[in-house]
Assembly symmetry: C2
Homo-oligomer: 474 residues x 2
Amino acid sequence: MERNEPSLAEIFSPRGVAVVGVSPAKRTFGRQVVLSLKEAEFPAIYPVNRKYTEMFGLPCYPSLRAIPGEVDHVVVSIPAESALTLLDDCAAKGVKSVHFFTAGFSESGYAERAELERAMLSKARASGFRIIGPNCVGLFVPKSRLVNIMGMPLEPGPIAFISQSGGHAEDLPFYTGPRGLRFSNVVSYGNALDVDESELIQYFSREPETEIIAAYIEGVKDGRRFLGALKEAAAAGKPVVIYKGGMTEAGKRAAHGHTASLTSSVAVFDALCRQLKTIRVDDVEELIDVLVALRFVRPLPRGTGIAVVGTGGGPSVLASDEMEKAGLHMPRLSPEVQAELRQFLPLPGAIFGNPVDATTLTSPEAISATMRVLGNVPDIHMLIYHLGFHPASRWGDGRLSLATFLQPAIDALTQAQQATGKPVLLALRPAPDLGGMKDFLAAQEAFVGAGFPVFHSLRQAAKAMARVVAWNQE
Amino acid sequence: MERNEPSLAEIFSPRGVAVVGVSPAKRTFGRQVVLSLKEAEFPAIYPVNRKYTEMFGLPCYPSLRAIPGEVDHVVVSIPAESALTLLDDCAAKGVKSVHFFTAGFSESGYAERAELERAMLSKARASGFRIIGPNCVGLFVPKSRLVNIMGMPLEPGPIAFISQSGGHAEDLPFYTGPRGLRFSNVVSYGNALDVDESELIQYFSREPETEIIAAYIEGVKDGRRFLGALKEAAAAGKPVVIYKGGMTEAGKRAAHGHTASLTSSVAVFDALCRQLKTIRVDDVEELIDVLVALRFVRPLPRGTGIAVVGTGGGPSVLASDEMEKAGLHMPRLSPEVQAELRQFLPLPGAIFGNPVDATTLTSPEAISATMRVLGNVPDIHMLIYHLGFHPASRWGDGRLSLATFLQPAIDALTQAQQATGKPVLLALRPAPDLGGMKDFLAAQEAFVGAGFPVFHSLRQAAKAMARVVAWNQE
């Protein structure tokens, strides 16, 4: 008799989690899951290993069936050969979802392993539970305290990230924490035997906590369902940002070896995405930049006009080229606007044409006055201020004193943004040395804390904004 | 009567340097020059300012003429209005070169300032000295202890960098120090009134200390002379790497406001560069990456075949896509080579197709064995090993213990390189936090110290190698 399958909402908020095949050995996945659940104070964690009666200060059980409490979610890192037996236990225990960290299934290229996957799916269907993976790191749901890696930011946020790569799934929340990104859910779904990209995108289109959907996809299982899911996200007004792995011959080969994905051709995938409001990006860095733009640029501009402000002729030329190469537009300033700027910016070594470059543009007063003038130009839709691309704004050697600069600069930019209604972006360049990085990270933390989008290069800022404006114009 | 003009070699090794218009005020250029010359122990520094008799512990002179010793080079940061009077003093003193930091000349857009520049040039021609700039930071020549900014690496190296931007000129040696780049000369030449890009490239084509020529150019003054200079560099076997600023309309406008450069069209410039062995890059980051490749990849490959090695499926797919998108080729591995790898790499979670991904690929033994197998594949011309793109090789949280990993890994890669004759490149991803950056910088220092080229992203490595291989194939 088939039971009703649980909803993804139920799966993302389990009451009890069993970790099967956990051992105390370092650098093992089971250990990492149990310790991170403990760190997150998840209430009901059940290590399962018949060799132990206690592990990490928790009672350890010889089998799933021996666990006294409710188990909704099972994390599995036993060898693939034992998968079917384990699923019988899962059925008997009445679990809702089973996440296989275990790899070595269809992606190994062996026919019998693909066969094994199909048998696993039949068991799941017959017994009414769902499978996440195999060959993935599973679920990270901050609001449920359901975590799979230590040191993740546990504060929930508006981004859902689905990833066929466990590495990217673990990487994104960790790397983007200092840039202010927080997640509602991160789902690593590996070989996508059961729960797949289309179901997840559809689910997050409806889930109220999620405002932005990010995806790392190697292969789409069902083009028609995928299209339907993207349509639902578009109808809900939620941007879907997709980084598609396996765009080249070598990439496809790697993706097939990684998650057994048969990646579609670039042309087909591109055509699919273009039909809908989808933002395609080319790699992890660009995914991060677009998420930062969607999350923090307020209001999201509907036009491509940008003004560039900062110190240094070289960086100003570079910035201008990057903006226009990416498809943004740098409106010329009228003689009247230039005259306004000349009232408070020094002439020698300055550029007044948009970009605006002056030696005093590390002073909060000059920044404030410049931003207000530029923000009131009608065809300028956004403003970017850059720091760290010129020795005059170099981190760490005291040329720019953060103690006197940071808070006044944040106030100046916040007020300029409010006064003109135009969003201000920051391009802060990381430093090459530890002293400089200390200052850089402090500045980033302060700007992010004040709600600003922070990018690490002018090119990255330009590319991300060009994509986001195009999406917003549709 | 005209005197013989000094050679650039004489200008780059002055006996005495006067700094005119220096003041003790912080964040002024003259102060920076005097202090950095002191730091570098330049033997004969003469501050000139009639308000002081002593500055920074040195005798200070009321005028150039009052200096008792030989003055070959003069650094000027007085207002543009006093330039002609000063040049009369320079003529009287018999100097060889005058560097104007002073800005506000032709780049300001005022006709009378362009006129002033022409008068300055006439005086220089008549009196037999040369002008560097105006509107630039001048000369950094490590072997002559002639420096213009503090904290620069003073060890000479094989790269000459000429730059129309003072910011880029100061920035490049500082930023690239940790990646191992060292310079024979850095010449910031601003408005190029007298000494210009063609003369400098021709000079460095002949100078024995220089093996690689890098250039940031906003405008070319004389296309025919420029072509001749590039031909000479090509004939000398020295690569010329050019980052051309002002490629877009906004960039051209900025370049004109920056150095009064009338930038040629992209098409014309591209055509010019394509005729010769010139490497064109799109921004400062790419310039740095190509210089790292030219300096440290040994031997420089003549083919595009690359093998990717490291931990993590996601990063491996990403790496593959980046390599092929950039124009490199990832040869498939034969069943025999794959079988060899399977002898020592674990099956689950691995990819054996090139990329090679295995969980054990943070162990020096596995790295060594893998690199030797791949390095012996004939159509693989280079190998890249990546770290930090996957949580298993994350910096700073103890997953990868640098104490036990670093030296054995360097030994393994060095031996693999020697045994197979194929160059090994490193892609090390910077960390998002200070603890991680500490480990990252330590790892970078160790790899750079052992002579490896280190890149910060897979995309940057791929793009740089594609450009360098194309240059090397011509």
